[in-house]
């Protein structure tokens, strides 16, 4: 399997990364190098093997469904690139 320049543009779009056109060729080479190296995993027999989850099995912890935090609007907004009157300010997303 090898990645083309169009694949790189498509992946960049999916990843929401504006890759400048002059980086595309370099990325094709880098990604193919890494993906070819990864191909060796096909040698491993994984028939009937469960995917790894954790080395120490314990049940997924559950907690009571109640509010345990909140009322910290100003803290939540403290690192916002733009905020106004207690709201995040973001670019228009609905026409």
């Amino acid at each position: 399997m090898s990645v083309t320049a169009d694949d790189v543009r498509r992946i960049a779009r999916l990843a929401r990364l504006a890759e400048p056109e002059d980086r595309v060729d370099a990325l094709v080479g880098e990604l193919n190098g890494i993906l070819n190296w990864i191909e060796q995993l096909n040698e491993v027999d994984v028939e009937g093997v469960q995917a790894m989850t954790t080395p120490v099995a314990f049940p997924l912890p559950m907690r009571e469904d109640k509010v345990t935090d909140g009322g910290i609007r100003d803290k939540v907004l403290a690192n916002a690139p733009k905020s106004d009157e207690g709201f995040f300010v973001v670019p228009k997303s609905v026409e």
């Binding site: 990645v3 694949d7 790189v8 992946i11 960049a12 779009r13 999916l14 990843a15 929401r16 990364l17 504006a18 890759e19 400048p20 990325l27 880098e30 990604l31 190098g33 890494i34 993906l35 190296w37 990864i38 191909e39 060796q40 995993l41 096909n42 040698e43 491993v44 994984v46 093997v49 469960q50 995917a51 790894m52 954790t54 080395p55 120490v56 314990f58 997924l60 912890p61 907690r63 910290i72 803290k75 939540v76 403290a78 690192n79 916002a80 690139p81 733009k82 995040f88 973001v90 670019p91 228009k92 997303s93």
Partner: protein
């Protein structure tokens, strides 16, 4: 400057409790030493002297009353991946430049709860992605160690390079790191320090900037094995805010240090003899085997047959999880924003400007392996290979109590010497990454110097939840090695 900073954490703790030195004096001295070293080592990303002094003063008050925790008054440096309330926490990335958390990570909260004093944030590879600390947005950290008689700048390793350098240069008494593929143990090996990660889930990931959630292990750097046990002890414990945090009680790691290793079975895996490994690494390993044999251990040849697949599996799992974790940096709620012509353009410009090349490369790989049609072929297969790697360990631990290997395939290398070849850089983690994939405890202990005068570390890996055996064996290696070398001060 006095020689106080050269003491071990355990020794300085004794002096603090005996009131031979105050936490405030010690903190001032540590901050001054860090600042004086900064132009040369570039190990730090932020200071907050008001916070440092306030914490030291509170520690002095508790010490005066004869109170105080495990780390009362001890200055520590914190990797820039841990949220420290009110202090710049950027994961060495431009996208988070200027981010000041309004909360505290669980691990640092536990350290402060034991009386430790914040000294500085330490530089790291951006989002912990790297093995040389060269991807930091503030430039590479320089290793305090140099080749004997040489002057070339060497890497302290990565990703926790700043923490390793700070401890190696005696600028603080310990530091936090995170280990996703070897990011504590490889820099520990490169700087002649002790670096530890416990069992996956032993230390909480809450408030630690996420890289690859199923592989991220917070842990300590220290000057001695016992110091590292004290630090891991303080950092460990169940945290309801991290669903993967282990509910198990934390054993007494400190008590394990110095206990006899007589009769322990030590595994030596043949797969860790890799092509092109320097003879000196092989020699250091053999020396470690001989030390443990002399201490009464039984040496057992073992096989971990899936070792060679660990790095390729890692380079699917880690980028996949990273691409997902780093999706949150969209320039809307926190982090920096670059305005574009519309929302999508804003996202794309923000992320392209905020992330460095290595981070973008890994996001791209992760996005690709998780994209439609490829999930089974890549991520699912890699997670199954991971199970095979864990099975290797499980079978080995039927026969042995601990595994001894080199920590890294080389000593510290020159800055810039591997930055053009991602796979050559990734191979640095060839010995460490298996323990992340399997989630088992592992540490690096300094074993000696190579012929160029650079430190080499040995790695000890044990069963999940059995950090005590790891500390026992680590302390035995330390005792036999008698490693007291320090980098000659040039900074």
């Amino acid at each position: 400057m006095s020689d106080l900073l050269k003491l071990s954490l355990t020794d300085v703790s004794g002096k603090l409790k005996a009131k031979e030195v105050s936490a405030s004096e010690l903190a001032t001295e540590a901050v001054e030493a860090c600042k004086a070293a900064q132009p040369a080592l570039n190990a730090f990303t932020a200071f907050d002297e008001d916070k440092t002094q306030a914490m030291a003063k509170a520690a002095d008050e508790r010490l005066a009353k004869g109170e105080g925790g495990l780390l009362e008054g001890v200055p520590l440096a914190i990797k820039d991946l841990f949220a420290v309330e009110g202090v710049d926490t950027a994961a060495s990335s431009n996208i988070l430049k200027g981010f000041k958390p309004t909360y505290e990570s669980t691990v640092t909260a536990k350290l402060w709860g034991e009386g430790a004093v914040f000294v500085a944030k330490t530089s790291m590879d951006e989002f912990a992605m790297g093995s040389s600390n060269e991807t930091a947005n503030t430039g590479p950290v320089v290793n305090p160690w140099k080749v004997s008689g040489g002057n070339e700048s060497l890497t302290p390793g990565g990703s926790s390079g700043g923490s390793a350098a700070a401890v190696a240069a005696d600028l603080c008494f310990g530091a936090t790191g995170t280990d996703t593929g070897g990011s504590i143990r490889q820099p520990a090996s490169f700087t002649g320090t002790v670096g530890v990660k416990g069992t996956y889930g032993r230390t909480s990931r809450w408030g630690v900037v996420a890289f690859a959630s199923s592989l991220d292990h917070p842990g300590p750097f220290a000057k001695t094995v016992k110091d590292s046990a004290v630090l891991l002890q303080a950092m460990s414990g169940h945290d309801p805010k991290d669903s993967t945090s282990l509910p198990n009680a934390v054993p007494d790691f400190v008590a394990a240090c110095g206990q006899s290793v007589k009769g322990l079975r030590i595994g030596v895996p043949k797969e860790y003899r890799v092509d092109g490994m320097p003879e000196e690494i092989e020699k250091a390993w053999q020396q470690g085997i001989d030390w443990l044999k002399a201490a009464g251990c039984e040496i057992v040849d073992i096989s971990l047959p899936h070792t060679k697949y660990a790095l390729p599996a890692y380079y699917i799992v880690a980028p996949a999880e990273a691409s997902s974790n780093l999706a949150r940096y969209d320039g809307m709620r926190y982090g920096n924003r670059v305005d574009g012509v519309d929302l999508t353009d804003t996202y794309e410009q923000t992320r392209a400007a905020g992330f460095g090349h290595e981070v973008q490369r890994r996001i791209m790989i992760g996005t690709y392996v998780l994209s439609a049609g490829y999930y089974d072929a890549y991520y699912l297969r890699a997670q199954k290979v991971r199970t095979r790697i864990l099975e290797d360990f499980t079978q080995a631990f039927d026969k042995v109590d601990a595994i001894l290997t080199p920590s890294a395939p080389s000593a510290a290398f020159a800055l810039g010497s591997k930055s053009d070849d991602p796979i050559a850089m990734y191979l640095n983690d060839v010995f460490t990454v298996t323990a992340n994939l399997a989630g088992v405890p592992a540490m690096s202990v300094p074993a000696g110097l190579d012929s160029q005068g650079l430190p080499l570390g040995l790695q000890i890996i044990t069963r999940a939840l059995d950090e005590e055996t790891m500390f026992k064996v680590g302390a035995a290696i330390e005792d036999s090695a008698g490693f007291t070398h320090k980098a000659a001060k040039w900074w």
